[in-house]
Amino acid sequence: MTPAPDADAIVIGAGPAGMSCAIDLASAGFRVIVLDMQPSPGGQIFRALETNMMARPQTDELLSALGPSYRAGLALIERFRATPGIDFRPGTTVWDLRADGTVGWLRGNAAGYLRAPHVVLASGAMERPTPFPGWTLPGVMTAGAVQTLLKAGRLKPEGRIVLAGTGPLIFLLAEQLRRLGVRPALIARTDRLKDKLSALGQLRPAGFPALLKGLGWLARLRLAGIPMRTGISGLQALGRNRLESVRLIASGRTVDLPCDLLVVHDGIVPSTDLAHAAGLALEWRRDDASWRPRAATDGRAEMAPGPALTTGPRRIWVTGDARRIGGADAAIVHGRHATSAILAELRRAIGEPDGADRTGTAVERSLAARPFLDTAFPPGLAAQPPDDETIACRCEDITVRSLRIAIRDGANDMNLIRGLLRCGMGPCQGRNCSATLARLLAEAEPERPIPSSPFRARPPLRPIPLGALAGMTGLDPDLAQVESLDDKPEAIAGDDIHA
Protein backbone atom coordinates (compact mmCIF):
# COMPACT_ATOMS: atom_id res chain seq x y z
CA MET A 1 0.00 0.00 0.00
CA THR A 2 1.29 3.45 -0.90
CA PRO A 3 2.28 5.48 2.18
CA ALA A 4 -0.03 8.33 3.24
CA PRO A 5 0.71 11.83 1.90
CA ASP A 6 3.18 13.86 3.98
CA ALA A 7 1.49 17.18 3.18
CA ASP A 8 -1.29 18.68 1.08
CA ALA A 9 1.31 20.12 -1.28
CA ILE A 10 5.07 20.07 -1.81
CA VAL A 11 6.71 23.11 -3.36
CA ILE A 12 10.18 22.62 -4.86
CA GLY A 13 12.11 25.88 -4.74
CA ALA A 14 11.79 28.86 -2.38
CA GLY A 15 12.37 31.65 -4.87
CA PRO A 16 9.76 34.28 -5.76
CA ALA A 17 7.42 31.77 -7.46
CA GLY A 18 7.73 29.05 -4.80
CA MET A 19 7.31 31.49 -1.91
CA SER A 20 4.23 33.23 -3.32
CA CYS A 21 2.69 29.86 -4.15
CA ALA A 22 3.40 28.43 -0.67
CA ILE A 23 1.98 31.55 1.03
CA ASP A 24 -1.29 31.28 -0.92
CA LEU A 25 -1.58 27.51 -0.40
CA ALA A 26 -0.92 27.79 3.33
CA SER A 27 -3.30 30.74 3.68
CA ALA A 28 -6.02 28.52 2.20
CA GLY A 29 -5.40 26.00 4.97
CA PHE A 30 -3.00 23.65 3.15
CA ARG A 31 -0.11 21.97 4.91
CA VAL A 32 2.80 22.81 2.61
CA ILE A 33 6.32 21.42 2.60
CA VAL A 34 8.81 23.70 0.82
CA LEU A 35 12.17 22.24 -0.24
CA ASP A 36 15.12 24.40 -1.30
CA MET A 37 18.82 23.78 -1.89
CA GLN A 38 19.91 27.03 -0.24
CA PRO A 39 20.16 27.77 3.50
CA SER A 40 17.58 30.59 3.35
CA PRO A 41 14.56 31.47 1.21
CA GLY A 42 14.76 33.92 -1.71
CA GLY A 43 15.96 31.96 -4.73
CA GLN A 44 18.93 33.17 -6.75
CA ILE A 45 17.50 36.67 -7.15
CA PHE A 46 17.10 37.32 -3.41
CA ARG A 47 19.97 35.03 -2.44
CA ALA A 48 21.23 35.56 1.14
CA LEU A 49 19.03 38.67 1.47
CA GLU A 50 17.94 37.86 5.04
CA THR A 51 21.48 37.33 6.32
CA ASN A 52 22.81 40.38 4.47
CA MET A 53 20.09 42.53 6.09
CA MET A 54 20.88 41.09 9.52
CA ALA A 55 24.60 41.75 9.11
CA ARG A 56 24.12 45.50 8.64
CA PRO A 57 25.93 47.90 8.90
CA GLN A 58 28.76 45.59 7.80
CA THR A 59 26.89 44.82 4.57
CA ASP A 60 25.73 48.41 3.82
CA GLU A 61 28.15 48.81 0.90
CA LEU A 62 27.05 45.50 -0.60
CA LEU A 63 23.33 46.24 -0.15
CA SER A 64 23.65 49.64 -1.73
CA ALA A 65 25.56 48.16 -4.70
CA LEU A 66 22.91 45.46 -5.19
CA GLY A 67 20.24 48.16 -5.33
CA PRO A 68 16.59 48.51 -4.28
CA SER A 69 15.27 45.63 -6.41
CA TYR A 70 17.30 43.19 -4.26
CA ARG A 71 15.99 44.59 -0.96
CA ALA A 72 12.46 44.56 -2.40
CA GLY A 73 12.40 40.81 -1.87
CA LEU A 74 12.41 41.16 1.91
CA ALA A 75 8.64 41.73 2.24
CA LEU A 76 7.90 38.44 0.44
CA ILE A 77 10.50 36.53 2.48
CA GLU A 78 9.07 37.91 5.73
CA ARG A 79 5.55 36.88 4.74
CA PHE A 80 6.82 33.45 3.76
CA ARG A 81 8.50 33.05 7.17
CA ALA A 82 5.42 34.33 9.04
CA THR A 83 2.73 32.26 7.29
CA PRO A 84 1.58 29.34 9.47
CA GLY A 85 1.29 25.98 7.73
CA ILE A 86 4.55 26.27 5.76
CA ASP A 87 7.10 23.61 6.68
CA PHE A 88 10.28 25.09 5.15
CA ARG A 89 13.15 22.66 4.69
CA PRO A 90 16.27 24.54 3.53
CA GLY A 91 19.52 22.92 2.46
CA THR A 92 17.50 20.16 0.79
CA THR A 93 18.34 18.75 -2.62
CA VAL A 94 15.68 17.06 -4.75
CA TRP A 95 17.09 14.08 -6.65
CA ASP A 96 13.89 12.38 -7.80
CA LEU A 97 10.47 13.55 -8.92
CA ARG A 98 7.63 11.36 -10.11
CA ALA A 99 4.46 12.48 -11.88
CA ASP A 100 2.35 10.91 -9.12
CA GLY A 101 3.62 13.44 -6.57
CA THR A 102 6.57 11.51 -5.12
CA VAL A 103 9.65 13.60 -4.29
CA GLY A 104 13.09 12.19 -3.42
CA TRP A 105 15.05 14.50 -1.11
CA LEU A 106 18.50 14.74 0.49
CA ARG A 107 19.43 16.95 3.43
CA GLY A 108 22.93 16.55 4.84
CA ASN A 109 23.34 12.81 5.15
CA ALA A 110 19.62 12.02 5.42
CA ALA A 111 17.48 11.11 2.44
CA GLY A 112 13.97 9.90 1.75
CA TYR A 113 10.76 10.20 -0.19
CA LEU A 114 7.84 12.56 0.41
CA ARG A 115 4.42 12.46 -1.19
CA ALA A 116 1.64 14.99 -1.75
CA PRO A 117 -1.43 15.21 -3.95
CA HIS A 118 0.05 18.38 -5.50
CA VAL A 119 3.68 19.11 -6.28
CA VAL A 120 4.60 22.56 -7.50
CA LEU A 121 7.84 22.77 -9.43
CA ALA A 122 9.32 26.21 -8.81
CA SER A 123 12.96 25.32 -9.41
CA GLY A 124 13.71 28.40 -11.50
CA ALA A 125 16.19 28.91 -14.27
CA MET A 126 19.78 28.32 -15.25
CA GLU A 127 22.09 30.25 -17.51
CA ARG A 128 22.02 29.07 -21.10
CA PRO A 129 25.01 26.75 -21.59
CA THR A 130 27.48 28.55 -23.85
CA PRO A 131 30.30 26.35 -25.09
CA PHE A 132 33.26 28.20 -26.63
CA PRO A 133 36.97 27.35 -26.76
CA GLY A 134 38.48 27.58 -23.28
CA TRP A 135 35.20 27.89 -21.34
CA THR A 136 36.36 25.20 -18.90
CA LEU A 137 39.50 27.11 -17.80
CA PRO A 138 39.74 28.30 -14.20
CA GLY A 139 38.97 32.01 -14.39
CA VAL A 140 35.93 31.64 -16.67
CA MET A 141 32.62 31.98 -14.84
CA THR A 142 29.04 32.88 -15.56
CA ALA A 143 27.50 36.25 -14.66
CA GLY A 144 25.14 34.39 -12.32
CA ALA A 145 28.14 32.87 -10.53
CA VAL A 146 29.66 36.30 -9.95
CA GLN A 147 26.30 37.60 -8.67
CA THR A 148 26.08 34.66 -6.29
CA LEU A 149 29.58 35.44 -5.03
CA LEU A 150 28.49 39.07 -4.45
CA LYS A 151 25.28 38.20 -2.63
CA ALA A 152 26.17 35.07 -0.70
CA GLY A 153 29.97 35.25 -0.63
CA ARG A 154 30.26 39.03 -0.08
CA LEU A 155 33.07 38.91 -2.64
CA LYS A 156 33.81 41.19 -5.56
CA PRO A 157 35.99 40.32 -8.53
CA GLU A 158 39.35 42.04 -8.88
CA GLY A 159 42.02 42.23 -11.56
CA ARG A 160 41.46 42.39 -15.30
CA ILE A 161 37.81 41.52 -15.92
CA VAL A 162 36.03 41.01 -19.23
CA LEU A 163 32.23 40.62 -19.42
CA ALA A 164 31.10 38.82 -22.58
CA GLY A 165 27.74 37.80 -23.98
CA THR A 166 24.31 39.33 -23.96
CA GLY A 167 21.20 39.97 -21.90
CA PRO A 168 20.04 42.39 -19.22
CA LEU A 169 22.00 40.54 -16.52
CA ILE A 170 25.31 41.65 -18.12
CA PHE A 171 24.31 45.31 -17.65
CA LEU A 172 22.90 44.77 -14.17
CA LEU A 173 26.08 43.01 -13.05
CA ALA A 174 28.32 45.64 -14.67
CA GLU A 175 26.34 48.36 -12.90
CA GLN A 176 26.60 46.56 -9.54
CA LEU A 177 30.35 46.14 -10.05
CA ARG A 178 30.66 49.83 -10.96
CA ARG A 179 28.99 50.77 -7.65
CA LEU A 180 31.56 48.58 -5.87
CA GLY A 181 34.39 50.41 -7.62
CA VAL A 182 35.20 47.49 -9.93
CA ARG A 183 35.95 48.53 -13.52
CA PRO A 184 35.72 45.81 -16.18
CA ALA A 185 38.34 46.17 -18.94
CA LEU A 186 35.66 45.48 -21.55
CA ILE A 187 31.99 44.64 -21.96
CA ALA A 188 31.89 42.54 -25.14
CA ARG A 189 28.32 42.13 -26.35
CA THR A 190 27.14 39.66 -28.97
CA ASP A 191 23.92 41.66 -29.59
CA ARG A 192 23.84 44.43 -32.18
CA LEU A 193 22.05 47.69 -32.72
CA LYS A 194 19.86 46.06 -35.36
CA ASP A 195 18.53 43.68 -32.66
CA LYS A 196 17.36 46.76 -30.73
CA LEU A 197 15.71 48.25 -33.80
CA SER A 198 13.78 45.08 -34.59
CA ALA A 199 12.86 44.79 -30.90
CA LEU A 200 11.20 48.20 -30.90
CA GLY A 201 8.32 46.68 -32.87
CA GLN A 202 7.74 44.30 -29.93
CA LEU A 203 7.72 47.03 -27.33
CA ARG A 204 4.48 47.31 -25.34
CA PRO A 205 3.73 49.86 -22.60
CA ALA A 206 4.27 47.10 -20.02
CA GLY A 207 7.85 46.89 -21.23
CA PHE A 208 8.67 50.56 -20.63
CA PRO A 209 9.92 50.16 -17.03
CA ALA A 210 12.35 47.41 -18.10
CA LEU A 211 13.53 49.53 -21.03
CA LEU A 212 14.07 52.61 -18.86
CA LYS A 213 15.95 50.59 -16.25
CA GLY A 214 18.22 49.16 -18.96
CA LEU A 215 18.87 52.55 -20.54
CA GLY A 216 19.75 53.92 -17.10
CA TRP A 217 22.34 51.18 -16.50
CA LEU A 218 23.77 51.72 -19.98
CA ALA A 219 24.03 55.49 -19.51
CA ARG A 220 25.86 55.14 -16.17
CA LEU A 221 28.29 52.57 -17.62
CA ARG A 222 29.03 54.87 -20.56
CA LEU A 223 29.45 57.82 -18.22
CA ALA A 224 31.91 55.78 -16.15
CA GLY A 225 33.90 55.24 -19.35
CA ILE A 226 33.71 51.43 -19.30
CA PRO A 227 34.65 50.22 -22.82
CA MET A 228 31.84 48.41 -24.61
CA ARG A 229 31.74 46.64 -27.99
CA THR A 230 28.67 45.19 -29.71
CA GLY A 231 28.32 42.46 -32.31
CA ILE A 232 31.37 40.53 -31.10
CA SER A 233 31.98 36.93 -32.22
CA GLY A 234 34.62 34.20 -32.08
CA LEU A 235 35.06 34.38 -28.29
CA GLN A 236 37.97 32.28 -26.94
CA ALA A 237 39.46 31.90 -23.48
CA LEU A 238 43.19 31.24 -23.66
CA GLY A 239 45.61 29.98 -21.06
CA ARG A 240 47.44 26.88 -19.88
CA ASN A 241 46.40 26.03 -16.36
CA ARG A 242 44.13 29.02 -15.97
CA LEU A 243 42.72 31.90 -17.98
CA GLU A 244 45.44 34.24 -19.22
CA SER A 245 43.80 36.13 -22.06
CA VAL A 246 40.61 36.54 -24.06
CA ARG A 247 40.41 36.64 -27.85
CA LEU A 248 37.39 37.86 -29.79
CA ILE A 249 36.42 39.42 -33.09
CA ALA A 250 35.00 42.94 -32.94
CA SER A 251 34.22 45.03 -36.04
CA GLY A 252 35.98 42.43 -38.19
CA ARG A 253 39.26 42.57 -36.24
CA THR A 254 40.74 40.09 -33.81
CA VAL A 255 41.24 41.57 -30.36
CA ASP A 256 43.45 39.97 -27.67
CA LEU A 257 43.13 41.11 -24.08
CA PRO A 258 45.06 39.92 -21.03
CA CYS A 259 42.42 38.76 -18.55
CA ASP A 260 42.11 37.32 -15.02
CA LEU A 261 38.35 36.75 -14.98
CA LEU A 262 36.08 36.22 -17.99
CA VAL A 263 32.42 36.56 -17.04
CA VAL A 264 30.05 35.07 -19.62
CA HIS A 265 26.30 35.30 -19.94
CA ASP A 266 23.95 34.33 -22.76
CA GLY A 267 20.55 34.76 -21.16
CA ILE A 268 18.68 32.35 -18.93
CA VAL A 269 16.55 29.31 -19.74
CA PRO A 270 14.15 27.19 -17.64
CA SER A 271 15.79 24.56 -15.50
CA THR A 272 14.16 21.38 -16.85
CA ASP A 273 16.00 18.55 -15.09
CA LEU A 274 13.23 17.71 -12.61
CA ALA A 275 10.37 18.23 -15.08
CA HIS A 276 12.07 15.94 -17.57
CA ALA A 277 12.78 13.26 -14.97
CA ALA A 278 9.13 13.31 -13.91
CA GLY A 279 8.08 12.46 -17.46
CA LEU A 280 6.63 15.89 -18.24
CA ALA A 281 6.57 16.95 -21.87
CA LEU A 282 9.29 19.38 -22.94
CA GLU A 283 9.47 21.40 -26.12
CA TRP A 284 12.70 22.40 -27.87
CA ARG A 285 12.85 26.01 -28.94
CA ARG A 286 15.31 26.32 -31.78
CA ASP A 287 15.61 30.13 -31.61
CA ASP A 288 16.23 29.92 -27.90
CA ALA A 289 18.55 26.87 -28.01
CA SER A 290 16.70 25.46 -25.02
CA TRP A 291 13.94 23.20 -23.80
CA ARG A 292 11.00 24.29 -21.72
CA PRO A 293 8.19 22.33 -20.11
CA ARG A 294 4.92 22.13 -21.97
CA ALA A 295 2.57 23.59 -19.39
CA ALA A 296 -0.72 25.49 -19.52
CA THR A 297 -0.90 29.15 -18.48
CA ASP A 298 -2.00 28.03 -15.02
CA GLY A 299 1.10 25.82 -14.71
CA ARG A 300 -0.71 22.50 -15.22
CA ALA A 301 2.05 20.29 -16.64
CA GLU A 302 1.53 18.04 -19.61
CA MET A 303 2.87 14.49 -19.58
CA ALA A 304 5.21 13.35 -22.33
CA PRO A 305 3.59 10.74 -24.55
CA GLY A 306 4.55 7.12 -24.07
CA PRO A 307 5.18 4.92 -21.05
CA ALA A 308 5.99 6.59 -17.71
CA LEU A 309 7.58 5.43 -14.47
CA THR A 310 4.33 5.98 -12.56
CA THR A 311 0.64 5.50 -13.16
CA GLY A 312 -2.38 7.48 -11.98
CA PRO A 313 -3.20 11.17 -12.22
CA ARG A 314 -0.52 13.77 -12.93
CA ARG A 315 0.05 15.83 -9.81
CA ILE A 316 2.68 18.32 -10.96
CA TRP A 317 2.39 22.03 -11.63
CA VAL A 318 5.19 24.19 -13.01
CA THR A 319 5.52 27.83 -12.03
CA GLY A 320 7.83 30.84 -12.34
CA ASP A 321 11.00 30.81 -14.43
CA ALA A 322 10.89 26.99 -14.47
CA ARG A 323 7.85 27.38 -16.78
CA ARG A 324 8.63 30.64 -18.67
CA ILE A 325 11.49 33.06 -18.15
CA GLY A 326 9.99 36.26 -16.79
CA GLY A 327 11.99 37.34 -13.75
CA ALA A 328 10.97 37.80 -10.12
CA ASP A 329 7.83 39.91 -10.52
CA ALA A 330 6.36 37.62 -13.17
CA ALA A 331 7.28 34.60 -11.02
CA ILE A 332 5.35 36.00 -8.05
CA VAL A 333 2.29 36.62 -10.22
CA HIS A 334 2.50 33.13 -11.66
CA GLY A 335 2.97 31.47 -8.27
CA ARG A 336 -0.33 33.04 -7.18
CA HIS A 337 -2.09 32.17 -10.42
CA ALA A 338 -1.00 28.52 -10.25
CA THR A 339 -2.20 28.33 -6.66
CA SER A 340 -5.61 29.72 -7.56
CA ALA A 341 -5.85 27.01 -10.25
CA ILE A 342 -4.99 24.30 -7.72
CA LEU A 343 -7.55 25.68 -5.28
CA ALA A 344 -10.17 25.97 -8.02
CA GLU A 345 -9.62 22.32 -8.87
CA LEU A 346 -10.39 21.48 -5.24
CA ARG A 347 -13.20 24.05 -5.05
CA ARG A 348 -11.34 25.86 -2.28
CA ALA A 349 -11.11 29.63 -1.89
CA ILE A 350 -7.99 31.78 -1.41
CA GLY A 351 -7.43 32.20 2.35
CA GLU A 352 -7.20 35.91 2.94
CA PRO A 353 -7.88 37.80 -0.28
CA ASP A 354 -5.34 40.61 -0.55
CA GLY A 355 -6.66 42.18 -3.73
CA ALA A 356 -3.81 40.81 -5.88
CA ASP A 357 -4.81 39.90 -9.42
CA ARG A 358 -4.54 36.11 -9.71
CA THR A 359 -5.96 35.74 -13.22
CA GLY A 360 -4.31 34.50 -16.40
CA THR A 361 -4.53 38.08 -17.66
CA ALA A 362 -2.21 39.17 -14.84
CA VAL A 363 0.24 36.44 -15.92
CA GLU A 364 0.15 37.67 -19.52
CA ARG A 365 0.65 41.25 -18.38
CA SER A 366 3.65 40.24 -16.23
CA LEU A 367 5.32 38.68 -19.28
CA ALA A 368 4.48 41.53 -21.68
CA ALA A 369 8.07 42.86 -21.79
CA ARG A 370 9.54 39.47 -22.78
CA PRO A 371 9.10 39.57 -26.57
CA PHE A 372 10.93 42.90 -26.58
CA LEU A 373 13.78 41.63 -24.36
CA ASP A 374 14.07 38.33 -26.25
CA THR A 375 14.39 40.15 -29.58
CA ALA A 376 16.75 42.82 -28.26
CA PHE A 377 19.06 40.22 -26.68
CA PRO A 378 18.96 37.08 -28.82
CA PRO A 379 21.22 34.15 -27.82
CA GLY A 380 24.69 35.02 -29.09
CA LEU A 381 27.37 32.69 -27.76
CA ALA A 382 24.98 29.73 -28.11
CA ALA A 383 23.76 30.76 -31.56
CA GLN A 384 26.99 30.16 -33.50
CA PRO A 385 28.03 26.60 -34.42
CA PRO A 386 30.62 25.62 -31.81
CA ASP A 387 34.23 25.26 -32.92
CA ASP A 388 35.55 21.66 -33.21
CA GLU A 389 38.09 22.15 -30.41
CA THR A 390 35.42 23.29 -27.94
CA ILE A 391 34.64 20.98 -25.04
CA ALA A 392 30.92 20.19 -25.18
CA CYS A 393 30.68 17.90 -22.13
CA ARG A 394 32.52 19.56 -19.25
CA CYS A 395 32.33 16.49 -17.01
CA GLU A 396 33.93 14.03 -19.42
CA ASP A 397 36.08 16.47 -21.45
CA ILE A 398 34.36 15.50 -24.72
CA THR A 399 35.00 17.82 -27.64
CA VAL A 400 32.55 19.02 -30.24
CA ARG A 401 34.77 17.30 -32.83
CA SER A 402 34.24 13.82 -31.36
CA LEU A 403 30.49 14.41 -31.18
CA ARG A 404 30.42 15.55 -34.82
CA ILE A 405 32.38 12.45 -35.85
CA ALA A 406 29.96 10.15 -33.98
CA ILE A 407 27.00 11.89 -35.64
CA ARG A 408 28.63 11.68 -39.09
CA ASP A 409 29.20 7.95 -38.49
CA GLY A 410 25.48 7.44 -37.99
CA ALA A 411 24.79 7.99 -34.28
CA ASN A 412 21.67 10.13 -34.59
CA ASP A 413 20.12 9.83 -31.15
CA MET A 414 21.00 11.64 -27.91
CA ASN A 415 20.86 8.51 -25.76
CA LEU A 416 22.87 6.44 -28.23
CA ILE A 417 25.63 9.07 -28.25
CA ARG A 418 25.61 9.14 -24.47
CA GLY A 419 26.09 5.38 -24.45
CA LEU A 420 28.88 5.51 -27.02
CA LEU A 421 30.91 8.47 -25.74
CA ARG A 422 29.73 9.06 -22.13
CA CYS A 423 28.58 12.56 -23.15
CA GLY A 424 26.10 13.57 -20.45
CA MET A 425 27.03 10.67 -18.17
CA GLY A 426 29.18 12.65 -15.73
CA PRO A 427 28.15 14.24 -12.43
CA CYS A 428 26.17 17.10 -14.06
CA GLN A 429 23.99 14.51 -15.83
CA GLY A 430 23.89 16.46 -19.09
CA ARG A 431 22.72 19.78 -17.65
CA ASN A 432 25.56 21.54 -19.51
CA CYS A 433 25.86 19.52 -22.71
CA SER A 434 22.42 18.23 -23.71
CA ALA A 435 21.44 21.46 -25.50
CA THR A 436 24.80 21.54 -27.30
CA LEU A 437 24.38 17.96 -28.51
CA ALA A 438 20.82 18.72 -29.64
CA ARG A 439 22.18 21.65 -31.65
CA LEU A 440 24.85 19.44 -33.24
CA LEU A 441 22.23 16.87 -34.23
CA ALA A 442 20.13 19.64 -35.78
CA GLU A 443 23.19 20.98 -37.60
CA ALA A 444 23.80 17.54 -39.18
CA GLU A 445 20.19 17.00 -40.20
CA PRO A 446 18.39 20.34 -40.39
CA GLU A 447 15.24 18.69 -41.74
CA ARG A 448 14.87 16.24 -38.87
CA PRO A 449 12.78 17.36 -35.90
CA ILE A 450 14.95 18.07 -32.87
CA PRO A 451 14.80 15.48 -30.08
CA SER A 452 11.83 16.44 -27.96
CA SER A 453 13.73 15.81 -24.77
CA PRO A 454 17.27 15.79 -23.34
CA PHE A 455 19.06 12.55 -22.39
CA ARG A 456 16.69 10.11 -20.72
CA ALA A 457 16.82 10.86 -17.00
CA ARG A 458 17.03 8.35 -14.19
CA PRO A 459 17.08 9.01 -10.45
CA PRO A 460 19.18 10.00 -8.61
CA LEU A 461 19.41 13.26 -10.57
CA ARG A 462 22.04 14.49 -8.13
CA PRO A 463 24.64 12.50 -6.20
CA ILE A 464 23.51 10.93 -2.91
CA PRO A 465 25.97 9.52 -0.37
CA LEU A 466 25.59 5.74 -0.07
CA GLY A 467 24.96 6.08 3.67
CA ALA A 468 21.98 8.36 2.99
CA LEU A 469 20.63 5.90 0.44
CA ALA A 470 20.93 3.04 2.93
CA GLY A 471 18.99 4.91 5.59
CA MET A 472 16.20 6.27 3.39
CA THR A 473 12.79 7.00 4.88
CA GLY A 474 9.38 7.12 3.22
CA LEU A 475 10.09 4.25 0.86
CA ASP A 476 7.11 2.86 -1.01
CA PRO A 477 7.57 -0.92 -1.27
CA ASP A 478 5.66 -0.87 -4.56
CA LEU A 479 8.20 1.53 -6.05
CA ALA A 480 10.95 -1.05 -5.61
CA GLN A 481 9.09 -3.63 -7.71
CA VAL A 482 10.26 -3.73 -11.30
CA GLU A 483 7.25 -5.17 -13.06
CA SER A 484 8.02 -4.40 -16.66
CA LEU A 485 10.31 -2.56 -19.02
CA ASP A 486 7.41 -0.41 -20.19
CA ASP A 487 9.36 2.80 -19.68
CA LYS A 488 12.07 1.52 -22.03
CA PRO A 489 10.48 1.57 -25.45
CA GLU A 490 13.69 0.58 -27.27
CA ALA A 491 14.06 -2.54 -25.14
CA ILE A 492 10.58 -3.60 -26.14
CA ALA A 493 11.35 -2.89 -29.76
CA GLY A 494 14.29 -5.28 -29.53
CA ASP A 495 16.95 -2.59 -29.82
CA ASP A 496 18.98 -3.03 -26.68
CA ILE A 497 21.98 -0.87 -27.61
CA HIS A 498 21.13 1.96 -25.27
CA ALA A 499 18.24 0.69 -23.22
Binding site: M126, T142, A145, V146
Partner: protein, 101 residues
Protein backbone atom coordinates in the same frame (compact mmCIF):
# COMPACT_ATOMS: atom_id res chain seq x y z
CA UNK B 1 40.49 36.95 -8.44
CA UNK B 2 38.03 37.84 -5.64
CA UNK B 3 38.29 40.24 -2.71
CA UNK B 4 35.96 40.73 0.27
CA UNK B 5 33.39 43.54 0.17
CA UNK B 6 33.97 45.26 3.49
CA UNK B 7 35.45 43.31 6.39
CA UNK B 8 34.92 39.57 6.67
CA UNK B 9 34.34 38.17 10.16
CA UNK B 10 36.21 34.92 9.80
CA UNK B 11 35.42 33.05 13.01
CA UNK B 12 36.04 29.58 11.64
CA UNK B 13 38.90 27.64 10.10
CA UNK B 14 38.79 25.04 7.35
CA UNK B 15 41.75 22.97 6.14
CA UNK B 16 42.51 22.47 2.46
CA UNK B 17 45.16 19.79 1.89
CA UNK B 18 46.38 20.60 5.40
CA UNK B 19 46.58 24.38 4.89
CA UNK B 20 44.40 26.41 7.26
CA UNK B 21 42.01 28.92 5.68
CA UNK B 22 39.87 31.41 7.64
CA UNK B 23 36.13 31.03 6.98
CA UNK B 24 33.01 33.08 7.68
CA UNK B 25 29.99 31.34 9.21
CA UNK B 26 27.27 31.01 6.57
CA UNK B 27 29.48 31.16 3.48
CA UNK B 28 29.86 28.25 1.07
CA UNK B 29 33.08 26.30 0.73
CA UNK B 30 33.35 27.59 -2.84
CA UNK B 31 33.19 31.26 -1.76
CA UNK B 32 35.67 30.65 1.06
CA UNK B 33 38.23 28.98 -1.22
CA UNK B 34 37.85 31.54 -4.01
CA UNK B 35 38.55 34.32 -1.50
CA UNK B 36 41.66 32.42 -0.43
CA UNK B 37 42.84 32.41 -4.06
CA UNK B 38 42.87 28.61 -4.48
CA UNK B 39 44.02 27.78 -8.05
CA UNK B 40 41.67 24.81 -8.61
CA UNK B 41 39.20 22.62 -6.70
CA UNK B 42 39.71 19.48 -8.76
CA UNK B 43 41.29 18.01 -11.87
CA UNK B 44 39.10 16.13 -14.32
CA UNK B 45 39.17 12.32 -14.40
CA UNK B 46 39.69 12.20 -18.19
CA UNK B 47 42.39 14.76 -19.05
CA UNK B 48 43.53 15.99 -15.64
CA UNK B 49 42.56 19.58 -16.52
CA UNK B 50 42.16 22.00 -13.63
CA UNK B 51 38.71 23.35 -12.76
CA UNK B 52 37.27 26.09 -10.59
CA UNK B 53 33.57 26.75 -9.97
CA UNK B 54 31.73 27.88 -13.10
CA UNK B 55 28.02 28.39 -12.27
CA UNK B 56 27.93 28.62 -8.44
CA UNK B 57 24.29 27.44 -8.30
CA UNK B 58 24.66 23.68 -8.36
CA UNK B 59 24.25 22.97 -12.09
CA UNK B 60 27.76 22.61 -13.52
CA UNK B 61 29.40 20.29 -10.94
CA UNK B 62 32.82 21.80 -11.66
CA UNK B 63 33.26 22.78 -7.99
CA UNK B 64 33.46 19.14 -6.88
CA UNK B 65 35.81 18.65 -3.96
CA UNK B 66 36.50 16.13 -1.19
CA UNK B 67 34.80 17.14 2.07
CA UNK B 68 35.70 15.28 5.27
CA UNK B 69 36.81 12.24 3.30
CA UNK B 70 33.83 12.07 0.93
CA UNK B 71 34.65 12.89 -2.70
CA UNK B 72 32.62 14.64 -5.42
CA UNK B 73 30.70 17.00 -3.11
CA UNK B 74 29.46 20.31 -4.53
CA UNK B 75 31.48 23.09 -2.87
CA UNK B 76 29.02 25.76 -4.10
CA UNK B 77 26.13 24.16 -2.18
CA UNK B 78 28.00 23.16 0.99
CA UNK B 79 28.33 25.66 3.85
CA UNK B 80 31.64 25.82 5.72
CA UNK B 81 31.91 24.18 9.14
CA UNK B 82 34.61 24.87 11.68
CA UNK B 83 37.50 22.41 11.37
CA UNK B 84 36.29 20.96 8.07
CA UNK B 85 38.90 18.92 6.20
CA UNK B 86 38.94 19.56 2.46
CA UNK B 87 41.06 17.98 -0.24
CA UNK B 88 41.55 18.99 -3.85
CA UNK B 89 40.10 16.13 -5.85
CA UNK B 90 42.66 14.82 -8.33
CA UNK B 91 41.04 12.86 -11.13
CA UNK B 92 38.27 10.44 -10.25
CA UNK B 93 36.90 10.35 -6.71
CA UNK B 94 38.30 7.46 -4.68
CA UNK B 95 37.03 5.41 -1.76
CA UNK B 96 39.79 4.54 0.74
CA UNK B 97 40.74 0.86 0.49
CA UNK B 98 38.35 0.14 -2.38
CA UNK B 99 39.32 -0.32 -6.02
CA UNK B 100 36.32 1.12 -7.85
CA UNK B 101 37.76 1.04 -11.33
Amino acid sequence: MFAPIGSIEATMTVYLNGRSIPARAGETIAACLLRAGVSHFRTTPVTGARRLPYCMIGHCFDCLIEIDGIGSRQACLSPVEDGMTLRIQDGAATVPGVDIQ
